[in-house]
């Protein structure tokens, strides 16, 4: 029954795990900061304003930190943490736990747990990017319309990921200090994909210095190449919002026989094609998670009518970047959308 509901609610999106399978090796190296570490300090809202807590245990990007790093096999221990947070901090809130539906072990444990705790609901969803986006989740799980860029808290929804829940539990419930977090390092520019435990305030340079391949030129992205930022200033320090660092090789020379040498182009920043005119292939509106038609914006933009693009629900775009990702003509739709906004 749950599954049926999900299919109706979610639209578009793409399962990135099929395309980019990133094997991580399970070494947890600890990296400490040169400066005294910063402490985890999330400004939590007051008791009454939170009506719903959504715990997203469903990372949809393959380079994001997987759940088992935090949860291990102890689902109930983790759910107890949620319970303690709820009872001590937000006694009136309801809680929805969203789990990726291939993690059957967690799902069955959570469902059992939910039977005894009527304030908790369990949702199993397919791990399709970007279905863990706050806008998409609030619409699908709670049927609330949140605008892109708007804080979900204004609607009383608090969205937390697994690591943040652990940290809140440790710092607020146990009154302990949290000064480090797990980060997933991956990408074609690195020697190995691994998880690290860094102290907050460590510089990016210190993390990636000895891990990059020497020969390759690389670009570094924080929080993934789809939604994240590219960073050029490596002295930047890690804070709590950094979930993963992706280092991609720059493939800006032509590669012979791209059909058989796909591994050389895979997961690099190469466009994998030439820029052409839009061919109206409908890939972009099929994949858009919020039902927009990005090619319309492209045409308005090309005719120089940026104003007109706003008529077509432009403000609903959650800037997930999937339309640019799939476009066979390699049109930079997301840049166009941002310029039109």
């Amino acid at each position: 029954m749950i599954k049926k509901k999900q299919n109706r609610v979610f639209k578009g999106g793409v399962n990135l795990f099929d395309t980019y399978s990133i094997p991580f090796c399970n070494i947890f190296e600890e990296i400490s900061s040169d400066l005294p570490p910063e402490l985890f300090n999330l400004a939590l809202p007051d008791k009454q304003s939170v009506k719903h807590i959504i715990a997203t245990l469903c990372p949809t990007e393959p380079w994001a930190l997987p759940n088992w790093v935090i949860l291990g096999h102890k689902t109930t221990v983790f759910l107890d943490k949620i319970k303690e947070i709820k009872t001590s901090l937000f006694p009136e809130a309801k809680c929805s736990v969203v789990i990726s539906n291939n993690e059957t072990e967690h799902i069955s444990a959570a469902k059992e747990y939910a039977v005894a705790n009527e304030w908790m609901e369990v949702f199993a969803i397919e791990a399709k990017y970007p279905h863990d986006d706050p806008v998409v989740l609030s619409k699908a799980i709670l049927n609330r319309e949140v605008n892109f860029g708007q804080d979900t808290l204004s609607q009383g929804i608090l969205i937390l990921d697994a690591q943040t829940i652990s940290a809140i539990h440790k710092s607020r419930v146990l009154n302990d200090n949290v000064d480090s977090r797990f980060i997933a390092l991956s990408g074609t520019g690195l020697k190995e994909n691994e998880f690290i435990n860094v102290q907050l305030g460590t510089s990016v340079e210190k993390i990636i210095k000895n891990r990059m391949k020497e020969s390759a030129r690389c670009r570094v992205f924080v929080n993934g190449p789809l939604r994240g930022k590219e960073i050029n200033d490596f002295t930047q320090r890690i804070d709590w919002t950094v979930n993963n660092i992706v280092v991609l090789e720059v493939q800006d020379t032509k590669v012979m026989f791209p059909m058989i040498n796909t591994d050389r182009l895979h997961f690099t920043t190469n466009l994998l094609g030439d820029v052409r005119a839009c061919v109206y292939c409908n890939f972009c509106d099929d994949i858009c998670p919020v039902n927009l038609e990005p090619a319309l914006y492209y045409h308005c933009y090309k005719r120089g009518e940026k104003q007109r693009a706003r008529l077509y629900n432009l403000e609903k775009c959650i800037e997930c970047g999937l339309c640019s990702f799939v476009c066979p003509s390699k049109i930079e739709l997301l840049r166009i959308i941002k310029e039109c906004k």
Binding site: L226, P258, T268, T269, N270, V279
Partner: protein, 367 residues
């Protein structure tokens, strides 16, 4: 295969690099051959551009693969069956003429005159469609002229992505107006059986017959559905083996290259409307199944109305578009003297796609 390729890879890459830098450093050479080199290079090597704005990774599908899928489907859908039914020589000579004139002469000259910076891959699809919608025994110069018209016309409209109507269909319309006699005759009867040396090359090159639909109009006889489906009834070069066309069309839909809404709405509406008309006047109009299986309808439904550029972008508007195509096809076939209505119906709907699109957009966004 991979080993051989990897051996020639490095020297070839170096030479191509050398040619490229030579072309780019000499203005006049670049002016003449830049586009041709780009097109050739594009077949062998990947792009060197990298993503400069978010998102920084891109999907591994580009317009080349898109067109490649259509080409593969067309080769399996009509070239191979046609080789069997009409003889190797008949098909291969037409393909050579069509590609030679269309892609290698007209497109290249255009790229030089108009100073385009690349030659589009879309020309291959148009040039593969032109012989498919002409009679098997049409003279070779007619095929060449058709391919040239298709490419010139498409380029005048602004190239791939800007063509309002399907270039192959436009060139067929042009040829029908200029040379009606060549398009009304030359429908060679397909060969059936185990081929010997002569039939392998030429098929049954001496026997021609009227197409099933004109036969129906003249005498009221209905060709058997099985022979229409398998391709043993005569017709244009590429439209006879409907079974292969249907299978490859379904493959295209599965690959998401063709949009399923269009063939479904087209077939559905042809079936419904022709059923309605044949209930009204049984003697003069063809039954629905005959409509579906005769003429270029199957070819059109999978390869022409699904051409994404000439349809509407909005997905709901695609239903209207497909139903409109079906309605006009049935009207043209039943109540005009034209032997084949599907092609003209698609052309007409190509033109109507723009108003349908803007109408649906107006409704959807209430602007």
């Amino acid at each position: 295969m991979k080993k051989i390729l990897s051996k020639i890879e490095t020297p070839l890459n170096k030479n191509l690099d050398r040619i490229e830098s030579f072309i780019h450093s000499h203005g006049k050479v670049n002016f003449l051959f830049g586009a041709i080199f780009e097109a050739f290079d594009g077949l062998l090597r990947s792009s060197k551009h990298t993503a400069q704005t978010q998102p920084f990774i891109r999907n591994n599908i580009d317009t080349k693969k898109f067109m490649g899928a259509v080409l593969i489907a067309l080769v399996i859908g009509w070239v191979l069956p046609a080789m069997y039914f009409f003889g190797l020589q008949c098909v291969i000579s037409r393909l050579i003429v069509s590609f030679g004139v269309g892609v290698f002469v007209v497109d290249v000259i255009w790229a030089i005159i108009a100073r385009e910076d690349h030659i589009s891959e879309g020309g291959f699809v148009s040039c593969l469609l032109v012989p498919a919608i002409l009679p098997p025994q049409s003279p070779l110069w007619l095929v060449g002229l058709g391919a040239a018209m298709a490419i010139i016309f498409r380029n005048i409209m602004g190239g791939v992505g800007h063509n309002l109507v399907n270039p192959a269909l436009f060139s067929r319309l042009f040829l029908t107006i200029c040379f009606p006699s060549f398009l009304a005759t030359g429908y060679q009867v397909p060969f059936v059986g185990i081929p010997d040396l002569h039939t392998l090359r030429y098929g049954l090159d001496t026997i021609t017959h009227a197409t099933p639909f004109s036969e129906f109009k003249a005498e009221g006889t209905i060709t058997s559905y099985i022979s229409l489906l398998l391709g043993t009834a005569n017709g244009s070069l590429g439209e006879t083996c409907r079974l292969a066309l249907i299978l490859t069309g379904i493959w295209l839909i599965k690959m998401k290259v063709a949009n399923w809404r269009l063939p479904v709405s087209y077939f559905g509406s042809v079936f419904v409307f022709s059923g309605m008309f044949s209930l009204l006047s049984k003697s003069t109009t063809a039954p629905p199944m005959f409509h579906l299986l005769s003429g270029g309808l199957v070819l059109g439904a999978f390869f022409m109305i699904t051409d994404p550029i000439t349809t509407t972008y909005n997905q709901k508007a695609k239903w209207i578009y497909g139903i409109g195509c079906g309605f006009i096809t049935v009207l043209l076939r039943n109540y005009t003297t034209l032997a084949e209505g599907a092609m003209y119906a698609i052309l007409l709907m190509n033109l109507l796609a723009v108003p349908i699109q803007s109408f649906m957009i107006k409704i959807k966004y209430r602007t």
